[in-house]
Symmetry: C2
Subunit: 124 residues, 2 copies
């Protein structure tokens, strides 16, 4: 698959290290959180409270697309603008995000409790 | 708690972003994997197949200790050398690692299947 070929080489065949080769940074899973909660557009992601910068956002969206986590479709021409949607592979990371929420809520009481809808098990 | 105070300021109160403020990089959770599977010493971590460098390892161990994920004890004096152990807070990240394993095994078939013992639910 093209998406797989454009990843950089895995450090090992460890499933944890291989996952971190793709999402092991401070921003990728924050952008995925936004997409899983309904955000679609570049400006939506910029509006989030973590204040990602435009160049980091551009870079991460391209890497997420190359890894197969997200797909983009043009919603406007001249200038072309894209909407982003999580793929099935990207949605499959929801349990990782849910476990991060449980851990943070348990050990860092200042963190928000996520909406119940976000914590529902993945269907399928 | 001192461990909490030495973290850098959270980007938001989002539990995902706050978790990534601590473990959002390519190496921290790889080191945690090693500790959860019995490795204790600096040289053990260097031996892992991902080939972490000594300066990155030194940096991450200090951040993990400051965040409260690991505790160190001296096992030798002159020169002093330390063993590292996961704290209860650090062990609490096991479900995050387990979900990463499930995701990688599902979407990247070239990854190793973890030992059954690693996939057992956290007690408590």
């Amino acid at each position: 698959m093209m998406a797989t070929m454009s990843r950089r080489p895995a450090r090992s065949a460890c499933p944890i290290a291989t996952t971190l080769d793709i999402v092991g940074d401070r921003w990728t899973l924050v952008i995925l959180r936004d997409m899983l909660t309904g955000k679609k557009r570049f400006s939506d992601f910029l509006d989030s409270p973590e204040r990602i910068t435009t160049n980091v956002l551009t870079d991460r969206l391209a890497l997420m697309e190359a890894a197969g986590l997200v797909a983009k479709t043009a919603y406007q021409q001249r200038p072309v603008r894209y909407e982003y949607a999580v793929t099935e592979m990207g949605r499959g990371l929801l349990p990782v995000l849910q476990e991060m929420c449980r851990w943070a809520n348990r050990h860092m009481p200042e963190t928000w409790t996520p909406p119940a809808s976000f914590m529902e098990p993945l269907d399928g």
